[in-house]
Symmetry: C2
């Protein structure tokens, strides 16, 4: 029975647009015009925003009715202090908000529970079943009566070492709204006080609930200022420009095996939780592909059964299901995204389960991004060790429908 | 026998680093330090730069020895005027430089020929066989003696229509070096003179030799200023921040078929030339996946032959080869990148050949990027028609080894 609960609230698209246009000193009326100009539906945005707000109020009221002290926090206000204060954290939004809420919780006994505040529009794999969005008191009663199961979702930890590394995280959401710019003077002044750069291994101050992605970015400005602004990286607000298909060069070692040079559109290392997310979309096969593959096998005289849609569907499902595993299993699944194989670059194993993945960057302007929300520069000379420690597990609950 | 040839020269990584650090007012010595700090090898960069420069000189000398007038142009200097002036265009670099050289040539009888100036490090699929890099006079003689075959590489043209569209191209390379920023004042002033926005269809001033990619970007600043700065978009220098896996929403119609809602990491539509490039990496299957698929089929009792590596390899090769087709075939191949399938979004056909693809954007901050070099905003309300017109073919030559 928690006495203090922090409710982390999603920033709706409506609020986001409002904020970013306010940066430009525009009025609500201007905002309407701008959205119209972009062909976007102002009324629709406002409607989704209202639905979300209503659902948040329902959650907060239900908690207060139980005599629970509630703190409502937005992305920007959510910090370690709030987490220390709370006995439990509830995320009110979608999976993105759940990832945010989890990102600051390092205590494996402090429950984090997700409530999907826009079930019609978002999936909410990490949230309670949709019905509890509208009947949250019922969820509370079940929790009180112990009619649930604890679930410890394994998370990934990262160590960074090598030359030219910078263990300072950058918040990709914050940074989206930034308008700040760094002048030449600014850069030169900063350039005077460089620190030395041989260091590590640093345990990075984040845990990945879904995945870690390593890939090349296109931002020359980012690369430069990340080098120049080590001591107060945040103030630099680099712009991330992720390449569409600029290749990433790196060396990879799986489970302390030999290092292998690779070139690809990036590397994804996920948890069981993340195996249902981006990793799944990277690796799943389509009926169409399976059908073509089996047709070819048939042509080579190795299929005796007539190729029917039923078989294709069965094979497709079995294959795709083999990509999923329990969030509680302390193992990772890595996948090379769009590997480039040529005379220089092999790619013997493009995916697989692993307990440890080490990556040596050969990139120019690369980033290591955790759950799509926090980024670290990862350039030539840096080495990342990616692994699971059961101490990092996230405590959450399972309620049946 | 051309009397005037324009040689389009690659900007080497060394030059690129030089330029971008010069923006920060840094000296050559500072540059060395910065690259060292990033763990990059200054000497190595300089070495590649020298090799490239040597090879360019060889090409230019060979041309001048034949009494041909030569204009050496860098990316920034290369324009329509140069193309009009030249009887033929030679790209001296890698595939990227070839794409740049081709991008300004709309005359299907003006040959564009690629020479790979760093064969040890780059593939150069679009370039002459590597040996001619060092013996360019021999290539010239063969051309003069007619010992070659003309090759017309088909290209994609784009029409843009709808609300809030902006047919102004943005050069992604240029823009990488930009330091410009737009103040609030600037934005508001601009905001006064908006143009109306119902328009189209516009034939866009580019032709895709490799592919057209449509995907969501993460740049709020870009979206805003692209709306605000229609009349002189270039001066706005928006920053592109391509999302790692932010989903793109759009509707697609293939060969004038029904519209289908989709959600994915983007859409790639390529030519035969591009079928060997990014599209291939998106669609090819790995031995590992084929092996697992055949194992599953075997489990379902439909494989009679023992599963050996030879069969797996054969099936894999056949499947992957089926993804490639001739640059001269006037057809396109589309692929949905990492499609997201759920109760809302179907994805019946994830890839296939097509003569016409229409896409209606439901994106917030999306872009349509041509050959990874030129980008157009493509937000909610915009409709793109993607097709091949044989009039747009690029004239190039085939020389055997």
């Amino acid at each position: 029975r928690p006495s203090r609960v922090a409710v982390v609230v999603k920033t709706t698209r409506y609020e986001f647009e409002q904020q970013r246009y306010r940066y430009a000193g525009l009025s609500e009326e201007d905002l309407k015009q701008l959205l119209a100009l972009k062909g976007s539906n102002y009324a629709g945005l406002l409607e989704r925003h209202r639905i979300h707000t209503k659902n948040v109020e329902h959650i907060v009221d239900s908690l207060r009715n139980e005599g629970i002290e509630v703190r409502l926090v937005k992305r920007r206000e959510y910090n370690e202090e709030t987490v220390r204060w709370a006995d439990a954290v509830i995320s009110a939004g979608g999976d993105g908000t759940m990832l945010l809420a989890a990102s600051k919780v390092f205590d494996k006994f402090k429950p984090v529970i997700g409530v999907n505040t826009d079930p019609e529009r978002s999936e909410g794999h990490l949230c309670l079943p949709v019905r509890y969005t509208h009947s949250f008191p019922e969820a509370l009663q079940k929790l009180y009566r112990g009619e649930f199961r604890w679930q410890w979702r394994q998370r990934i930890r990262l160590y960074l070492e090598g030359t030219g590394i910078n263990p300072t995280p950058v918040d990709l959401h914050e940074q989206q709204l930034s308008q700040e710019q760094h002048s030449r003077a600014h850069i030169n002044e900063r350039f005077q006080d460089q620190r030395s750069d041989i260091s590590g291994p640093h345990l990075l101050p984040v845990r990945a609930l879904n995945e870690v992605f390593i890939g090349e970015s296109l931002s020359s400005r980012y690369a430069m200022c990340s080098v120049l602004f080590r001591e107060n990286f945040k103030s630099c607000k680099p712009s991330f420009k992720f390449s569409l298909h600029r290749a990433s060069y790196y060396e990879i070692s799986v489970d302390d095996g030999p290092w292998e040079k690779q070139k690809s559109s990036g590397l994804n290392v996920c948890t069981g939780t993340g195996s249902k997310a981006w990793s799944y979309n990277i690796n799943k096969v389509a009926n169409q592909a399976v059908e073509e593959i089996l047709k070819i096998a048939k042509k080579h005289g190795s299929l005796n059964m007539p190729l029917n849609m039923e078989l294709v569907q069965k094979v497709t499902n079995d294959y795709n299901e083999s990509l999923l595993y329990s969030p509680e299993e302390p193992k990772m699944f890595f996948s090379i995204r769009e590997p480039i194989v040529n005379r220089v670059f092999s790619s013997s194993r493009q995916r697989g389960f692993s307990s440890k993945v080490c990556v040596r960057s050969r990139c120019w302007d690369a980033c290591m991004v955790v759950d799509g929300g926090t980024s670290f520069e990862f350039n030539d000379g840096a080495i990342a060790s990616i692994m699971i420690d059961t101490e990092d597990a996230l405590c959450t609950v399972l309620l049946e429908e």
